[in-house]
Amino acid sequence: MIANTDEARTGYRNVWVVAEVLGGQIQKVTYELLGAARSLANDRACEVWCVVMGHGLDGQIEPLFHGGADVVLAVDEPRFAEFVDEDMASVLVRFVDTHKPEIVLCGATTRGRALIPRVAVAANCGLTADCTGLSIDPENGDLLQTRPAFGGNIMATIRCSNHRPQMATVRPRVMNALPADTGRTGRVIREQLLESEKSTLKKVVEIFQDTENAINLADARFIIAGGRGVKGPEGFQLLKRLAERVNGAVGASRAAVDSGWVPYNHQVGQTGQTVQAMVYVACGISGQIQHLVGMQSCDYIIAIDKDPDTPLMQLADVAIVGDLFEVLPEIVREIPRT
């Protein structure tokens, strides 16, 4: 809603987190958002609320208090065993209208990114996507939202001064969850999906869960990439093993693709894909400019090469000088199976 006066803005209070619920389980990203919300709430001297929409939520409310929530607004509804974004959005819009939060945070997941824009449109407020930084402007209390755009090539700071609530999505693993404080408790508000909010427009007819799902390179948080130094398709098995351990994807330089060792859709670079992983491990890739343009906005870059002087070894945050066939198995050994 438009809130372009101090008076209008003070009508909005508290920081909300919209929980990510999959298969009846509250996901980790929710706790990360609670961590971020807690610190914003401290600055604003207000409460943290967590909105949970799902089915079979018994036993899952308490941990939210341990993670930093003061109030949990829960809708335990059979229909919410499935992701019916239209209905969930209607419920959320009603909650926002009723309780007037100042800030609403949601995970930038496939579900969060489907749900929350619907809410923002209906609530007539701004929504900032994929924030990597959230803070409060000490001058006027606005939420300052920092986010990458143009594929990570610029960082933009965004504010929504004249509308409330201020809404933002945050990707998983960007914020830090608080250590669980089992002494904390809070208030639970139980709510329901109203008949009028049940839309008949969408029917989920089948659900397929596959966490082993080969991860899309563009969305991967962890990429293990190989180049000519990997020497053949057998070498890529080694990379795959590490990728499986860290729930990541396998990437490749063009030299590896052109040798027929890996399919083209794994190629990173100017004539392949641009990736923005949290961690990029380059194995036996020298790092010519055509490769670098595709991966240089990854957050943390690790290079493994026999040659310490390649462009990638210079660019990397960690450069491991050595034979990748010896180093990779050691890394795999260091990371326990989950």
Partner: protein, 262 residues
């Protein structure tokens, strides 16, 4: 089936150059192209048309030169294009963009299905598709990786999620956003392109679509980009590990843990 595909013109990453000093991509002089994800939306609409008949209208909101992306879509099988253009649209955030596109869709009338790309590669928000659905009060399906069926006013979509997928039956009209897995877009032929050259593309202004001036462009945008910075410089220091493989691996994994990356 009457379909509208929303396409956005974005700076191409393709002929990106790296500044040797800053090691960052130089954006100046980069050509504008159709948002890569939107090519999948166009292809899917054309495929639906080829299978069960109908009409495909492509629409973009942008400066006059954004017309080229409409012609590109027409050269691969879209039937018509509409350009939303006018100074008052400038500075739109996703709220104002979805409002304007929704108003235009209402003006077209009788639309059964709107297709968007998963996200634009410049703004990167993925908010416009669901935003349009919300503005129109229609059903939506995002991250669609397959459309197994569409008939009798119901469309079946396979939505991609981090942990798998789900299949939904959706009553039309609806808005879909599509991911790359959905198809392989065809490349325009010279013949198609020459034919597309000749088509007239109407330009709609805010008045043409009956937009409320307070809800478009900067006026209608709750978000404000107040500052843009280059991303924080990469840690200049490289941690060089040249011990034994097991030492290096140990140090690396400890470092990853310390940074909360594992």
């Amino acid at each position: 089936m009457k379909m509208v595909v929303c396409v956005k013109q974005v700076p191409g990453t393709h002929d990106a150059k790296i500044d040797p000093e800053t090691k960052r991509i130089v954006r100046e002089g980069i050509k504008a192209v159709m948002n890569p994800f939107d090519t999948y939306a166009v292809e899917e609409a054309v495929k639906i048309k080829e299978k069960s008949g109908g009409e495909v209208i492509v629409m973009t909101m942008g400066p006059p030169r954004a017309e080229t992306v409409l012609r590109e879509a027409i050269s691969v099988g879209a039937d018509a294009g509409i350009l939303l253009s006018g100074r008052a649209f400038g500075g739109s955030d996703t709220w104002a963009t979805s409002y304007a596109l929704a108003k235009a869709i209402e003006k077209i009338g009788g639309v059964d299905l709107v297709l968007c790309g998963k996200q634009a590669i410049d703004g990167d928000t993925a908010q416009v598709g669901p935003g349009i659905a919300a503005q129109l009060g229609w059903a939506q399906a995002t991250y669609v990786m397959e459309i197994p069926e569409s008939n009798n006013g119901v469309i079946t979509t396979r939505r991609m999620h981090e942990d798998g997928w789900d299949l939904c039956e959706i009553t039309l009209p609806a808005v879909l956003t599509v991911v790359k897995d959905i198809n392989q877009p065809r490349v325009p032929t010279l013949k198609g392109r020459l034919a597309a050259q000749k088509l007239d593309i109407p330009v709609w202004s805010p008045e043409d679509i009956g937009a409320d001036e307070e809800l478009i462009g900067l006026n209608g945008s709750p978000t404000r980009v107040v500052k843009t910075n280059p991303p924080p410089p990469r840690g200049a220091e490289t941690l060089v590990l040249n011990g034994s493989p097991s030492e290096s691996a140990g140090t690396l994994v400890r470092e990853l843990r310390r940074r909360g990356l594992l």
